[in-house]
Amino acid sequence: MNYQMLYFASLADRAGRAEEVRDSAARTPRELYAEVAAAHDFTLAAERLRVAVNGAFVAWDHALADRDEVVFLPPVSGG
């Protein structure tokens, strides 16, 4: 399936990009994070992140669909 990935903050710096389309066999955010973390050398553990699909927070075992927009969110620091 193809996923539209968006990267923010330290993950964007680490990946060297703000977005990418990934062709992936991963079916959940958990599987997908393992894949992109290996690809981009992310060292932030999944437990430190939240995940959003199509603009809404989801659980790590959420079932992904083709063309989903998937975002792994580093700890926030607004305000």
Binding site: L6, F8, A9, S10, A12, D13, R14, T43, L44, A52, G55, A56, F57, V71, L73, P74, P75, V76, S77, G78, G79
Partner: protein, 149 residues
């Protein structure tokens, strides 16, 4: 009407506050977050805010709706800057009107705490020594704690 918004230009505080007006409200508490010239012992020159806009807006809106349920308040608003800010710039504004000041103080404090905890916005501080770095919610740098291994 949106109560939480992201702004890529200066926040119009007067317009925000006007939206809090209510004849039954006896008190109004506002919080402004300003860009400070120091953090964790380092001199800060400027900073950038990045947001995942669609989720930041829906999560911010959810926080304000929750504030209206949790506290006896009349109106609640919040607006957060994105982009590049200088020292002294207004980064975030939150305001609440309520019949009594107890609720106004409590709700305003709760809103800014929740925004800092839940809304996907990230702060990148640029230091006087030329370095920069993304921050954690507790204002410690991401870089040294996660990547400098």
């Amino acid at each position: 009407m949106k109560c939480f918004r992201l702004a890529d230009t200066s926040i119009d505080v007067d317009a925000e506050k006007a939206a809090l007006g209510h004849a039954a409200a006896g008190g109004c508490v506002t919080f402004e977050g300003w860009v400070r010239d120091h953090n964790e012992g380092r001199v800060v020159r400027r900073l950038d805010y990045q947001a995942y806009a669609p989720l930041a807006e829906s999560e911010g809106e959810a926080i304000l709706a929750e504030a209206l349920e949790r506290f006896h308040v009349r109106e609640a608003r919040c607006i957060h800057r994105v982009g590049s800010l200088a020292i002294g710039d207004l980064a975030v504004w939150a305001g609440v009107s309520a019949d009594h000041r107890d609720a106004a103080f409590a709700a305003c404090r709760w809103i800014i705490d929740e925004v800092k905890l839940r809304v996907p916005i990230w702060k990148n501080e640029h230091y006087a020594d030329g370095e920069s770095g993304w921050l954690h919610p507790d204002n410690t740098p991401v870089v040294t704690s996660e990547y400098s291994r």
